[in-house]
């Protein structure tokens, strides 16, 4: 097509307005237009979330949509926060998020290290079993797991949400971190061992720092999972003061004698998004690197 115009020896970039270059610009522009349009499409519902959190309760569903509330109801935030003991809910959520997160990431890393670096009989078989538990529906385990905790009389305690993290680690995390460990050259560990480090020291001082991107991404995924978890706190916690943020928010959807407080629910949701959003914005580059280095291979 354009070869008749462009001399083959010239790189297309040198000729300012060759058809090839125009074509490139048009395709670039189209790409930007498309990704931006999609971006806006993805942003609209979120924007509505924030704007609704600043509206009066009975104006949220007004027609036509008010994108910017005439008088922003900033007091929705303190009102919602004080309608239920949200300060307490926040601490509860932090407790059932951070404690298991630390344990889960550390244990998963240890297990991943074992699978990546030590040849033991049955390693591949056990690894396959581990991967297959990823596809095991939680629903199948839900009721017996509940009964196990009930057996120990730990219902309405935080234990069911916290203790499990010490056992097992998370298959997805183990899988991702194993990929990372496998890509670390063996010489690095050998050097550490020659320097007199034992396995645990090699692991914490040498290997863990090397897989930082993976640690970061699994931490973000894990944080998000615990932070937004709704089913487990709903099942295991009974007293109101022990609730987490998600369960607390649920009460704003209305009850038998109470009208739903959508504006409060929106305000709390907006607040709940913030920590994850900040984490993601700051760490997104590492996050993606951590998810994908070594590739997702079956």
């Amino acid at each position: 097509m354009s070869t008749t115009v462009t001399r083959p020896t010239d790189s297309p970039k040198r000729i300012p307005w060759s058809p090839l270059r125009v074509g490139q610009i048009v395709s670039k522009a189209a790409t930007y237009l498309l990704v931006s349009a999609l971006g806006v499409l993805f942003l609209i519902p979120l924007f509505w979330l924030v704007s609704s959190s600043l509206k009066e309760g009975n104006h949220i569903f007004d027609q036509p949509v008010q994108w910017f509330p005439a008088v922003p109801q900033w007091n929705n935030y303190p009102d919602a926060w004080n309608a239920l003991p949200f300060t307490r809910f926040l601490f509860n959520t932090l407790f059932v998020t951070l404690v298991p997160l630390v344990a889960e990431v550390f244990v998963s890393a240890l297990v991943a290290y074992g699978f990546a670096r030590f040849a033991f009989p049955g390693r591949n078989f056990l690894f396959m079993v581990m991967i297959s538990t990823m596809f095991l529906p939680d629903a199948v385990k839900l009721i017996p797991t509940f009964l196990i905790w009930k057996q120990f009389d730990l219902i309405n305690h935080y234990d069911p949400l916290v203790l499990g993290s010490l056992l097992g680690g998370t298959p997805l995390f183990i899988f991702l971190m194993r990929q990372f460990f496998s890509s670390v050259p063996k010489e690095i560990e050998e050097a550490a061992i020659i320097d007199g480090a034992n396995v645990f020291q090699t692991f914490t001082r040498v290997m863990l720092p090397l897989i930082r991107p993976a640690l970061l991404s699994v931490s973000i995924i894990g944080f998000q999972g615990h932070w937004n978890d709704f089913l487990s706190p709903l099942i295991y916690l009974n007293s109101q003061s022990k609730y987490t943020l998600t369960v607390g928010m649920y009460f704003f959807t209305g009850g038998v004698n109470e009208r739903p407080h959508w504006e409060w629910l929106m305000a709390m949701s907006t607040l709940m998004v913030l920590p994850i959003l900040i984490l993601f914005i700051f760490f997104q580059r590492y996050f993606i690197e951590g998810l994908t280095s070594g590739g997702v291979k079956g």
């Binding site: 999609l38 601490f91 407790f95 074992g114 040849a119 009721i143 680690g169 998600t246 993601f280």
Partner: protein
């Protein structure tokens, strides 16, 4: 602060520490026994002792509950009385008498079969788009990832408004089209025929970001020398796309399809909040929760869980079997 936070956290935290010590102890014990009793090599002993926490977790939180579910599904356990064996009664009642059963299977299976390919396809397109050298790539990544970080509770509420038949965003936007063809816009969650499309649209918005990020990574890890070699051989853009890009990405696509399918079959939070008309059936996981925890029919609910498990297992096996036909692994002869 309300209640007694320290009194609530501390005992759990102490038990957490004790369990941590116990797990470390067992791991070291495994190492000791393997070395001194079975005299295995040091490397083997360390390997087993490192994966001990996982083995413990597998036994306690996977194997035991699974077997227990299977056993409970043949009983009439209701949390109060001790369980009695009732044979296949639960399964019989579910399949032959329970009016909720078939609609629930239909909704769950259709939702998974339709939503997963659509969402993976769009994610792939989006990932390919984003893999071009773009400025502000970080901004787009954040934008697309946003939906997956909003708590499901808020997402569902958002969609309840979007799908609201009278004042919702979607029907407001669609009403000129529907006026044109002389139809009334759909009632979405309120109309049993539109519940499924509504859930699919909703899932698309949520899953797209997550999947795109994973596929984007996979796209980036396709070695550039493959493209260079292809260019030298005279391949055009089209050929490169279908002969290199897509095949090299199939492992990631496969991984996503399997994971997404299993999670679609287990949809819970959106299903719990959407307040869709029950006429369309309820998602299986929601029905399990309702039977087990709201009605305390644990035995009956576990029978449903077993059926859900069998469905997911069957789908996973079919998917894994299909692998040889379309998934390309590096270093493997075709």
């Amino acid at each position: 602060m309300v209640g007694d936070p320290i009194g609530d956290y501390l005992p759990t935290f102490i038990r957490f520490l004790l369990l941590a010590v116990a797990v470390v102890g067992i791991s070291i014990g495994v190492h000791y026994v393997l070395r001194n009793v079975f005299h295995v090599r040091r490397e083997v002993a360390i390997g087993y002792s490192l994966i001990t926490p996982w083995i413990l977790g597998f036994l306690v939180f996977n194997l035991t509950p699974m077997l227990a579910t299977l056993v409970l599904s043949f009983t009439d356990y209701n949390l109060q009385q001790s369980p009695n064996l009732v044979g296949i009664k639960n399964y019989d009642t579910l399949i032959n008498k329970d009016v909720n059963f078939w609609p629930s299977i239909r909704l769950t299976v259709l939702y998974s079969i339709i939503s997963v390919p659509i969402s993976v396809f769009f994610s792939l397109m989006l990932a390919l788009l984003l893999s071009k050298k773009l400025r502000f790539i970080g901004v787009y990544r954040v934008l697309y990832y946003l939906p997956s970080i909003v708590p499901a509770v808020a997402v569902v509420l958002l969609w309840r408004w979007i799908f609201n038949p009278d004042v919702g965003l979607l029907n407001t936007a669609l009403s000129p089209v529907f006026n044109l063809i002389g139809q009334t816009p759909p009632d979405w969650f309120g109309d049993e025929n539109w519940v499924l499309p509504a859930f699919i649209i909703m899932s698309l918005w949520t899953a797209l970001g997550n999947n795109t990020v994973i596929l984007l990574g996979s796209r980036k890890s396709v070695a550039t020398d493959l493209y260079e070699a292809a260019s030298i051989d005279g391949a055009n853009t089209f050929t490169k796309f279908f002969r290199i890009t897509v095949p090299m990405m199939t492992p990631a696509i496969f991984f996503l399809v399997v994971v997404e399918f299993a999670s679609a079959m287990q949809l819970f939070t959106p299903a719990a909040f959407a307040r869709a008309t029950p006429a369309a059936g309820r998602f299986m996981n929601l029905l399990i929760f309702s039977y087990g925890f709201e009605q305390s029919r644990m035995g009956y609910a576990t029978a449903l869980a077993v059926i859900l498990f069998v469905l997911i297992l069957a789908a996973t096996i079919v998917l894994f079997r299909s692998q040889t036909r379309w998934v390309y692994y590096e270093g493997q002869e075709k």
